[in-house]
């Protein structure tokens, strides 16, 4: 037995809470300030803004929702754009849940859905770190402690951002609002796989270029068009380099 492998539920959860207090909580709090400010500008009241963070819990989708609402987008464009913006929840859930040993913890469907709802990019990325911090059976309580802290930090940030325009001058608010799309742009550009970075570059071109014709449907053109072309290019490159190596 490795040292610490006997630590229980409470101790694992405590470590998760401890690891979240610091950079992760500050990062979520700050980015959600941007969302709160954008939400108010879009015409949401405080309750809708709060409920958006609570029920979507994924920054790109939340921004898509607020921006398209402000632009007068209908239900179809909002549904489709949010679905595409938060599409990455699917691969994250598929790869993240097995790490938490939900079968051994005897988690039923309802609790699994709650675990999945709390999963977003920060918590998902932390699962890798969790494997070195706690024994396998401790990853679930570690994760629950971790996401509880960042979820609360994000909700506080949303409320603070909503009321930001009451406490800072309009110019400072403008800078805060500029920060959020720039942050997300840099975040997706820092993707690990080169194919995804290529997709980012293509999407960044297709979106604004098709906006004058397509309006907010340009986002879908950017996603489906840019993403598909990036995958096709990568397959060509891979096939090409494979052919070079074969005799």
């Amino acid at each position: 037995m490795t040292p610490g492998s006997e630590i229980g539920w409470g101790e694992s959860r405590k470590r998760g809470i401890f690891d979240a207090c610091g950079v992760p909580a500050i990062a979520l709090f700050s980015t959600m300030i941007g969302f709160g400010a954008i939400a108010r500008e879009s015409g949401f009241d405080i309750w809708v803004s709060f409920a958006t963070t609570l029920s979507i819990w994924g920054m790109p989708g939340q921004i898509a929702f607020a921006e398209l609402y402000a632009a007068g987008g209908g239900g179809l464009v909002i549904f489709t754009a949010v679905a595409l913006a938060n599409l990455r929840m699917l691969p994250m859930t598929v790869s993240g849940l097995p790490i938490m040993a939900l079968d051994q913890h005897k988690y039923g469907a309802f609790r699994r859905l709650i675990v999945a709802h709390l999963l977003a990019v920060t918590g998902w990325a932390q699962l890798t770190a969790a494997q070195t911090r706690v024994p396998p059976m401790g990853i679930l309580p570690y994760y629950l402690g971790f996401v509880a802290v960042i979820y609360v930090a994000a909700l506080c940030g949303t409320v603070f951002g909503y009321y930001l325009s009451d406490v800072v001058p309009p110019l400072a608010l403008r800078v805060a609002i500029f920060m959020t799309p720039l942050y997300l742009m840099l975040l997706v550009s820092s993707a690990r796989q080169i194919g995804n970075r290529l997709a980012v570059g293509l999407g960044a071109l297709v979106g604004p270029l098709t906006y004058p014709w397509l309006g907010d449907w340009c986002i879908l053109a950017a996603g489906l068009g840019g993403g598909t072309v990036a995958v096709l290019i990568m397959e060509r490159v891979r096939a090409g380099s494979g052919a070079d190596k074969s005799p």
Partner: protein, 120 residues
């Protein structure tokens, strides 16, 4: 189903219900598929690429064709600030925080300068 989408309902709670559902379906599908399919497979390569391209397209649309207070900042200021952010990000080896800091600082500088708060 199509009536729901085509109605001109603009109630934010109804639209939030649609937006939250659009997110929750992926998580629920993930619960159903977890442990059964390979998250490194080809389908997910495509899914990820579409998600990345879509977010990039939306963020560039917000920066270049904003709807709110960013409209008051000239297009040139927004473009140069993004350019500076990416230059720093690239030069420092995809350093996210440094790039963000440089871009925001540049935009804040432009904003203050346009408002006449800088001595030049």
């Amino acid at each position: 189903m199509s009536e729901i989408f085509q109605t001109t309902i603009t109630d934010p709670w109804f639209l939030l219900f649609l937006a939250a559902s659009a997110t929750f379906v992926w998580r629920a599908l993930g619960v159903a598929l977890a442990g059964r399919i390979d998250p490194e497979g080809r389908v997910f390569d495509w899914v990820n690429a579409v998600a990345y391209a879509m977010v990039a397209g939306l963020m560039m649309r917000i920066i270049l064709f904003p709807t709110g207070t960013l409209v008051d900042a000239p297009m040139m200021d927004r473009m140069i600030s993004v350019g500076i952010a990416f230059a720093v990000w690239a030069l420092m080896g995809r350093a996210l925080l440094q790039g963000l800091f440089a871009g925001v600082l540049a935009f804040a500088g432009f904003t203050l300068w346009r408002a006449g708060h800088l001595p030049f």
